[in-house]
Symmetry: C2
Subunit: 158 residues, 2 copies
């Protein structure tokens, strides 16, 4: 079974980087609408969305926020991370079929509370910056090596 491991506070260095990518598919828009309750037609209705400034359906902005949060939780620092804060600036729309790559870089460490600050940038497959921001997390003290849990399988029913 594949495993994931984390970086403890002591292992993390300023300048350290990590990346995390996700292809945004039709299903993701449906799932995000279901889980957030944001069922705006610009996300769900192709005819309506064609008449907007975007000329087609776009992903929810906070879906990219969710992908950034997963990059922190899965890659750097990884399991055991405690999320303290996140800023997000939404720069460009994300469309179905875009591949979003999150690039994290550690910019600061505060020893007293083991707080790590990371610069967070989300790019699309054309290397355009779609979301930027900064995260503060409390990094784990203990090394964790855990079995990679299966991603829940979900199905859209209507």
């Amino acid at each position: 079974m594949p495993q994931i491991c984390n970086f403890t506070y002591d292992e993390i260095t300023v300048g350290q980087t990590a990346t995390y990518s996700k292809l945004v598919q039709e299903q993701d828009i449906q799932l995000f609408a279901a889980v957030s309750g944001d069922v705006n037609p610009v996300h769900l209705d192709a005819d309506f969305a064609a008449g907007t400034r975007y000329k087609g359906r776009i992903a929810h902005g906070m879906l990219t926020g969710a992908i950034i949060s997963a990059a922190l939780a899965m890659e750097l620092p990884g399991p055991g991370t405690i999320y303290l804060s996140q800023s997000l600036r939404f720069r460009l729309p994300v469309k179905i079929g875009d591949t979003i790559t999150i690039k994290l870089e550690v910019t600061d460490k505060q020893d007293r509370r083991q707080v790590v600050t990371l610069n967070c940038k989300a790019y699309n497959q054309n290397d355009k910056l779609v979301v930027s921001g900064s995260a503060e997390v409390m990094a784990p003290s203990e090394k964790l090596l855990i079995d990679y849990p299966a991603r829940p399988r979900v199905r859209i029913e209507g």
Copy 2:
């Protein structure tokens, strides 16, 4: 069919408020794990989570971010809103069965670009502040009254 309508920039006043509530259920944790890719066992594995500081499974922090984004998109300003930025401070964990209520309050308007700033607070059913932050949005110019799209129905398969 039920309809949703928005508040245009001109209709919005500093001090205006809105609320939006969501019960966080088992399925939401599964969906958020699927859509973000964050499959950390503190969210998905009851046995693992029992051994953490939280003494049980917790929701992903950014799930509350997603609910805040829905409050902006569905309630104030509502459909046609363009999301510019969001800050989030994660204060307390959210557990399955918690009802999260988002309280939005307009704190500033900038006429030049029709930018509205809103204070965003997320409370649980015990009136504890779980997430706080601030959003900047470009408010719609045109009044929209649209049919309330059905929330996609999804099913967890395993």
